[in-house]
């Protein structure tokens, strides 16, 4: 299935969890938040939530700003 992660299209196996997607972009598990199709997925749900075909996954963290 095709999933967009932080703007980049990726081929991922069916059943890939949000936790697995996060692990591909960062080792950090704190200070990071995930949205799928503009809805926040809370950290406690990452391991139990599978991404689906055509999902847009955003993995954000805090950077210098403001």
């Amino acid at each position: 299935m095709r999933v967009t992660v932080n703007g980049q299209s990726r081929e991922l196996p069916e059943g890939t969890t949000v936790a697995a997607v996060v692990a591909t972009v960062t080792e950090a598990t704190t200070g990071v938040a995930v949205a799928i199709n503009d809805e926040v997925v809370s950290r406690g749900s990452w391991a139990g939530t599978a991404v689906r075909d055509q999902d847009r996954v955003e993995v954000l963290t805090a950077v210098q700003g403001g």
Binding site: G7, G31, V40, E58, G66
Partner: protein
């Protein structure tokens, strides 16, 4: 007994300042200088500037994770024991800002947000329509909302009425260093506000920060004036002192301005007459 610290200020003065905390939504801060972290050339320079500023609350932005990034601004803030205030910089619509605030709450464990909804990249001025919409949604969702707003007393009043914890009018456009372009409007906002007024954006140097406090603002939020100064740590120290000086001057009550001179030495007893 009073003691003199390296700033030349006495212990008595410090004690008075400690009895004069900034209170936002029930949370107390000893420093009335809120810093931003944008624009610093390195994490080391940023850390030195933040330490020199004495700030206790500092903004960060939310962005896509960069796998190549080294060092985190969060590590710097944790090491310096500074509270984090996420912003919604870069958002053009209420929807974007609300989602960014929710992601920040999830990532950082705070429901405080510096709400920023800009109209265009050229001016970076707040879009008042989207700003009010986003503020309303976030207040309803339980956030402590600190909106970056225009220097418009009516808009500031609307934001306060819908439950914002502070109002943060700009002095001039973000990063411009133009100072406070409409001090009259800032005074009007201060006079009517029942929540803290935080002068946010446009300050260039220490006298701008002092003026904000003299006008009655409760705090100052700045980044570029420090992070892009030739010596960020030195400018941070200057801002720290300017905010303190301006606050003390505000509390002291300045003399009215006069058109003509008023002698401070007595006229009586001049020996040459």
């Amino acid at each position: 007994m009073t003691t003199t610290d390296t700033t030349g200020m006495t212990g008595t003065t410090d004690a008075r300042e400690h009895a004069d905390p900034l209170v936002i939504a029930g949370r107390e801060f000893g420093s009335r200088l809120i810093m931003g972290t944008g624009g610093a050339p390195s994490m080391r320079v940023l850390a030195e500037a933040l330490a020199a500023s004495g700030t206790e609350l500092t903004t960060v932005a939310m962005r896509r994770v960069d796998p190549a990034a080294r060092g985190s601004v969060l590590d710097v803030l944790r090491r310096l024991d500074i509270d984090v205030l996420p912003n919604t910089a870069g958002c053009f619509t209420a929807g974007e800002a609300v989602l960014t605030a929710k992601l920040a709450r999830e990532a950082l464990g705070t429901d405080w947000v510096k709400l920023e909804v800009i109209a265009d990249e050229h001016t970076l001025l707040p879009d008042p329509i989207e700003l009010v919409d986003a503020a309303e949604q976030l207040v309803d969702a339980g956030f402590t909302v600190l909106p970056y707003t225009n220097d418009d007393p009516v808009l500031a009043r609307r934001l306060e009425q819908l439950g914002c914890a502070a109002v943060m009018p700009l002095g001039s456009p973000i990063g411009s260093g133009l100072g406070i372009r409409n001090p009259h409007n800032i005074e009007l906002i201060v006079e009517q506000a029942q929540v803290p007024v935080i002068l946010d954006a446009g300050l260039g140097t220490a006298s701008d920060a002092a003026l904000a406090m003299e006008l009655g603002c409760d705090a100052v939020l700045l980044a570029t004036a420090v992070t892009r100064a030739q010596s960020p740590a030195a400018m941070a120290a200057a801002m720290r002192h300017a905010v303190r000086a301006g606050r003390l001057a505000r509390l002291a009550g300045r003399i009215p301005k006069r058109r003509h001179a008023q002698a401070s030495s007595p006229w009586e007893g001049i020996g040459t007459s």
